[in-house]
Symmetry: C2
Subunit: 82 residues, 2 copies
């Protein structure tokens, strides 16, 4: 069994409206030192297999087909034996 | 200047409907080994100050007041000199 953690970010050149909106809120609340806020996803899950390479394959497929948008987002993952 | 990264997760006992929905999709697509999917947020931003303790204070306040929901979510952050 493996515990997988995936971080999904928009590609650097792609606008992040959610981050922009949060940052406007920040300015209104007086956070004047904060800038370049970008919001991505952090996903955790368990892969029920004992074979690391099979687990890795499944994580990649899960990201490619379901978790990340391959057109706008990049992802990185970590696998840990659980 | 510091680069901050924040990970925000729902508390373990709080239901994560988004994760559940994604996992249902996973089952339909044939990912039978994947379970316990939980979806959180990954946020990056820049703090424009040279003083590390001031930066840390600002990051905590930004998380407490704007980024995280203190009732349902926990956060952890990292600060790196940029």
């Amino acid at each position: 069994m493996f515990k997988a953690t995936v971080i999904i970010k928009r590609r650097p050149k792609i606008l992040d409206p959610q981050g922009k909106a949060v940052e406007q809120g920040a300015k209104l609340l007086g956070f004047n030192n904060v800038s370049h806020t970008r919001i991505g996803k952090y996903i955790e899950f368990t892969v029920n297999t004992s074979d690391k390479s099979a687990a890795e394959k499944e994580v990649k497929e899960y990201c490619d087909k379901l978790l990340a948008n391959p057109i706008m987002e990049d992802y990185e993952y970590k696998l840990e034996k659980a």
